[in-house]
């Protein structure tokens, strides 16, 4: 167990908890949104940043989690059971999405995940008995271990607890054989095979683990919105998550959360600035533009994202040579 990571995760969660108390209902809403996005980003970073498998279907996987949790909870199941069920369903669907990765690599596989995203979106719309079609599944307020989750303020607690568990679990995962084999897989499948790593096995487990975490995030998102609808889990959401992990720093431990906070809070910030300046009509569409620009800039100048930028700001004497201190994509660095 990496004690430093555990301490950081708990401290960040406590800080977020304090913020949710300090800024009232809106604060709780934003903190919950950041925590959920953080969990989702951790799941995608596990797949792309550590495992090297590019996927555009993470948005739909969150949807699988939301629908699963919504149905379990609406049927009277405890919220915790609903969240775990969402994780299991997310893991299974993710492993199915991963099967083409056994044959396809890189961009070719990424295209296959685009298809998976489209198929899942379609299923959300037509599987009426489970998903309630285009109008979406209304999720009644759930109870977790008997405690009713009536507001964002109460939902913040399970979100932050799950965030800490997932965050620490990912840290631990990268220190066991399975996580190490993900890193080799990311660099080269040929090398991984030569080193005696069962590539197919490792890949499917990467999808399974990532899908489980995405399912948890989807369940929490469903409870927060009290609705699971096809429009909420589109390719746009997948793109948002990819933006988060690139802006935060691919393959880093803190990156997903930093990126999630950035991507969730940036539109709010733009909105506020717009309102203050009386320009909200003009500034709102800037969100997409800002994301696109940021991703391009990060890929060119700092593939390791905000995490690397922040660690560079640290005084040298304090800088800890973290395992992620070296660029993951040496080729994309300027010479």
């Amino acid at each position: 167990m990496n004690t430093r990571h555990l301490v950081i995760a708990v401290a960040v969660a406590l800080l977020m908890g304090a913020l949710s108390l300090a800024f009232g209902r809106f604060g709780a809403y934003m903190v919950n949104a950041v925590a959920i996005a953080g969990i989702g980003a951790l799941s995608l970073n596990l797949l792309i940043g550590y495992g090297g498998q590019i996927s555009f279907a993470q948005g739909a996987l969150l949807g699988v989690g939301a629908y699963t949790a919504g149905n379990i909870s609406n049927a009277g199941g405890d919220g915790l059971l609903a969240i775990l069920g969402a994780g299991v369903m997310g893991a299974i669907i993710s492993a199915l999405i991963g099967i083409p990765a056994l044959r396809l690599r890189g961009l070719y596989f990424a295209i296959a995940t685009l298809a998976a995203q489209a198929i899942l979106e379609y299923l959300f719309k037509i599987l009426d008995p489970i998903t309630n079609g285009v109008s979406g599944l209304v999720i009644r307020p759930t109870t977790i271990l008997g405690i009713p989750m009536t507001s964002d303020r109460s939902l913040v607690v399970p979100s932050l607890v799950i965030l800490v568990i997932v965050w620490v679990a990912v840290s631990r995962l990268m220190r066991i054989d399975l996580g190490r084999s993900f890193l080799v897989l990311r660099e080269s499948e040929i090398v991984a095979k030569g080193m005696g790593i069962d590539v197919a096995h490792a890949k499917i487990l990467a999808f399974f683990a990532s899908g489980f975490i995405a399912g948890l995030a989807g369940a929490l998102a469903g409870f927060a919105n009290r609705l699971a609808s096809p429009e909420a889990f589109t390719l746009d959401l997948s793109a948002d998550y990819i933006a988060m992990i690139i802006i935060g720093g691919l393959g880093t431990w803190t990156g997903p959360l930093i990126g999630a906070a950035f991507v969730v809070l940036l539109p709010e910030a733009i909105q506020r600035v717009g309102e203050a300046a009386g320009l909200s009509d003009i500034l709102s569409p800037l969100r997409e533009l800002a994301f696109g620009l940021l991703i391009i800039l990060f890929l060119i100048f700092e593939p390791r994202g905000l995490t690397a930028l922040l660690s560079r700001l640290k005084p040298r004497s304090l800088a800890v040579p973290a395992p992620g201190a070296v660029p993951a994509t040496g080729e994309s660095l300027p010479p």
Binding site: A169, I176, D177, R180, S181, L183, V184, G194, G196, A328
Partner: protein, 250 residues
């Protein structure tokens, strides 16, 4: 004989890379595989280690057929290999690589990975440091990412990975190529020590004749995909045909 290879043939298009190659190795024996470039030495190693699938032939290890098995299955059976060119693996430290090698010793199911979450590996870490990294002079860089190391040390890391699996059959593909003579001799010493400790069979492809002569118990000479000579190091040095093919004398 515990490794018995017979009639191993592999073609790439019209090129016959290895033709009816035969080789036998006993436990505790270090066999040197030498020959000019293109003789098929590495290709033969690739066949034994599961990277290539030969068209014909058998490779039996303690009676079990090895051909057709994947590298990961072979590693669990105790067949480990090193590579001529070492891969640069970002983010992984020397100790990480050694642990990946050692993971072949654990035969486990998917669920076993879950147990790993709760198991401390500090005992394994100590063992790898003392048994593997210390003799290879890697203990001081155990926690450094491997791309910060020199070429010679990276080759040592690759050997450490193979040794961490505690192999019964060790296939070394040019373990000392590109190393300084000091590094090369140290590496050869480690190979002999490992052989003495584990009693494993070793096949070593190598061009550096001083290392081959001083390390190997027996030498097999390949040319144009086949074995042309086999004998003790002294016999190989004295054989006129070997000298003509390999050492370039008339």
């Amino acid at each position: 004989m515990s490794l018995v290879a017979r009639e191993v043939t592999i073609r790439f298009g019209g090129v016959i890379a290895v033709e009816r190659m035969a080789l036998e190795v006993s436990p505790g024996e270090i066999v040197g595989l030498i020959g000019p470039n293109g003789a098929g030495k590495t290709t033969f190693i690739n066949c034994v280690s599961g990277t290539y699938r030969p068209h014909t032939g058998t490779v039996r290890w303690l009676g079990d057929e090895l051909l057709g098995l994947s590298p990961s299955t072979l590693l669990r059976k105790g067949v480990a290999r090193t590579f001529q060119n070492v891969a640069s693996l970002h983010d992984l430290t020397v100790l990480d690589i050694a642990k990946l090698g050692a993971s072949a010793r654990k035969d486990r199911q998917s669920g076993g990975h879950l147990l790993d979450f709760f198991r401390s590996d500090s005992a394994l870490e100590r063992e790898l440091l003392e048994q593997i990294l210390e003799p290879l002079e890697l203990a001081d860089v155990a926690h450094k990412p491997i791309q910060t190391l020199s070429y010679g040390r990276r080759k040592a890391v690759d050997l450490a990975r193979a040794l961490a699996a505690y192999p019964q059959l060790l296939l070394l593909d040019e373990p000392v190529a590109g190393l300084t003579s000091h590094e090369g001799m140290a590496m050869a010493g480690v190979v002999r020590n490992v052989r003495d400790r584990l009693g494993c069979a070793v096949i070593m492809v190598e061009h550096k004749m001083d290392v081959v002569m001083s390390t190997c118990d027996r030498i097999v000479v390949m040319a144009a995909g086949s074995k042309i000579f086999e004998g003790l190091p002294a016999e190989v040095q004295a054989d006129p045909e070997v000298r003509r093919v390999y050492l370039g004398e008339p």
